[in-house]
């Protein structure tokens, strides 16, 4: 092994074979992780498939029902509504953080006094405990005593019912999500800005381009791959958002904020319909993978053109 590495002049084939053998040896390092992953991740996946094919309630005998759980899902109005809601929530919870986060990154990319300090304040929401943050927002959303309605009326706007009305609950929850996760988008795009080559900008300045033209025609196209990374990550996270929605509304009022994840929780751990909930998991997983893959393909296309 070590000889193959140390001395030159041997046949390429032998060296390749030995380096292959060494690559194999390195897989031993991965083995403990594979064991853990199989136990806590792969096994649950397989078990979920198994459960989804059974009529399985806690504390009653299970029976094989084939694809019945999936067929029932298709005709389940509440589930279909949850899917629609999840897509609306996801769309809003991607667009707002990405737009604001990109703007924030452009601001933070400049040199200014206290930059490091202000940036560390700005990233605090994304490390704060979501449940704790959701709790504070719940108090701020209170229609009569909440500070948000006070601030609205102070600037002459009508008060809102926030999470207490079916019409405003989704936008209100998106507001919390945006508050918490815009900093992550900012950091990703800021990382992209740091890698930009300086030459195109310099020549644009020499040519007399305005700051806005430079931003639109040079900077934004160059950081687009990073913005797309942020879009993919935000999409995955928004699709599976749970903590803030569950803490603030638990799907209410009525079912007005019941996304797939909340629906899944209620089916599994309030009604204990294990087989049904497992089928929901499978469909949910397919939706998430399909969304992320199509976004990744889109990103590749954009890179090539």
């Amino acid at each position: 092994m070590m000889i193959a590495v140390g001395s030159g002049g041997r046949g390429d084939a032998r060296r390749a074979a030995s380096s292959y053998r060494r690559r194999e040896k390195y897989l031993w390092f991965v083995l403990p992780a594979v064991v853990v992953i199989v136990a806590v991740i792969v096994f649950p996946w397989i078990f979920t498939v198994f459960m989804s094919l059974h009529d399985w309630q806690v504390a009653s005998p299970r029976t094989w029902v084939g694809l019945d759980n999936y067929a029932n899902l298709l005709s389940d109005e509440r589930f279909r509504a949850a899917i629609g809601r999840t897509f609306i929530y996801t769309l809003l919870a991607v667009v707002f953080p990405v737009v604001i986060g990109t703007a924030a990154a452009i601001l933070f990319h400049r040199e200014f006094p206290l930059r490091g300090f202000l940036r560390s304040i700005y990233i605090l929401p994304m490390v704060a405990t979501p449940v704790a943050i959701a709790l504070v927002w719940t108090m701020m959303f209170h229609p009569q005593l909440g500070v948000l309605n006070y601030l609205l009326t102070r600037v002459g706007l009508p008060p809102s019912l926030w999470v207490y009305s079916p019409q405003t609950v989704i936008p209100s929850l998106v507001l919390v999500e945006t508050w918490q996760w815009t900093p992550l988008v900012m950091l990703i795009v800021l990382g992209g800005l740091a890698t930009l080559p300086i030459e195109p900008l310099e020549s644009a300045v020499v040519d007399g381009a305005s700051a806005w033209q430079i931003l639109r025609d040079i900077t934004l196209p160059l950081i687009l791959p990073f913005i797309m990374v942020a879009v993919v990550l935000r999409t995955i996270d928004a699709l599976k958002a749970f903590d803030t929605i569950f803490t603030i509304t638990q799907g209410g009022p009525g079912t007005a904020s019941e996304t797939i994840n909340i629906y899944l929780y209620l089916q599994a751990f309030s009604f204990f319909r294990i087989g049904h909930a497992s089928a929901v998991v499978m469909v949910f997983f397919v939706i998430i993978v399909a969304c992320s893959l199509s976004l990744l393909v889109l990103r590749q296309r954009m890179r090539w053109t």
Partner: protein, 290 residues
């Protein structure tokens, strides 16, 4: 970038107009920054303000922003009304042990993947990040009941590996890829085995990466709500679950609610103040969140 923004007015307009425009521009910049930062600062300050006021002031309208009679009663109430000390300890044990186990298993795995270029395994890590946490919970719930592990801290520690392990593997994989292989090669030439080369050469160099992975794994385990809300019993609750229960029982005791929220999140915020560089490196490298 800075060159571009700061030099252009001078090139086309007279110096005087240019200076005035630059001042306006700077004003606009700081205004934008103010708009960006004020919601962030406001929510945290409001949480602090609520936690320090008696409930008479908390439910007053118009709201009282600066406490007139600041008090620590809310914090005392949180700790006497429910075993928050115990819950804090639970959170600490779960986050610490699961982070340690994640590093123990994940650091060698990251090394192995980087060296063997086994990116199929890396893709696997990515898929497990896409999977919603709830989808693991149904099988776990049944399995742990079968094994009698429900209501034990072990159930939580094992499940929190799902948070810590992918983060660790992802961060360490990137870190070991960037490490120059010459030193290990030299050790191998000198007759060391690959295990010794890993332990004595690569591992000490990888300490910054391990710190990044440990911090992220700890924070996301500490913040995790979904696993503990299903799997924890009365004695094994972690802080986020405890805070959620305060919410369901005390709708309008805002002082205690805010105090509980602050107790949960303050350790993370303080930690962030000290290690924000590592957090930024880790979050942008993997973009991974629990």
């Amino acid at each position: 970038m800075d060159v571009a923004v700061s030099t252009w007015p001078r090139s086309r307009t007279s110096p005087w107009v240019g200076r005035r425009r630059a001042t306006l521009r700077r004003l606009g910049f700081w205004l934008a920054l103010l708009i960006l930062l004020s919601p962030v600062v406001f929510v945290f300050l409001w949480m602090l303000s609520l936690s320090l006021k008696p409930d008479v002031e908390n439910t007053a309208y118009p709201p009282i922003f600066i406490p007139r009679h600041p008090t620590l009663d809310n914090f005392q109430e949180v700790f006497t009304k429910s075993p928050f000390g115990q819950y804090t300890l639970n959170s600490l044990v779960v986050a610490t042990v699961s982070t340690a186990l994640s590093l123990l298993v994940g650091v060698p795995a990251g090394y192995g993947i980087a060296k063997a270029r086994a990116y199929g395994l890396a893709a696997f890590v990515l898929i497990s990040r896409m999977t919603p946490g709830l989808s693991f919970l149904i099988p776990w719930f049944i399995l742990f009941r079968y094994l009698g592990l429900n209501n034990t801290l072990w159930a939580l520690i094992i499940t929190h590996l799902v948070i810590g392990l992918p983060i660790t593997i992802w961060v360490m994989m990137g870190f070991f890829e960037d490490l120059h292989p010459e030193l290990e090669e030299a050790a191998l030439v000198d007759g060391a085995g690959i295990w010794a080369a890993f332990r004595d050469v690569a591992l000490p160099l990888a300490r910054p990466g391990m710190i990044v992975a440990a911090i992220l794994a700890f924070i996301f385990s500490w913040n995790n709500f979904i696993f503990a809300v299903v799997l924890a019993g009365r004695e094994t609750r972690t802080l986020p679950v405890a805070v959620f229960n305060v919410l369901t029982f005390e709708q309008l005791a805002w002082g205690a609610l805010a105090a509980a929220a602050l107790i949960v999140t303050l350790p993370v915020l303080i930690l962030t103040a000290f290690v924000q560089r590592q957090i930024i490196v880790g979050m942008t490298a993997g973009g991974i969140k629990g």
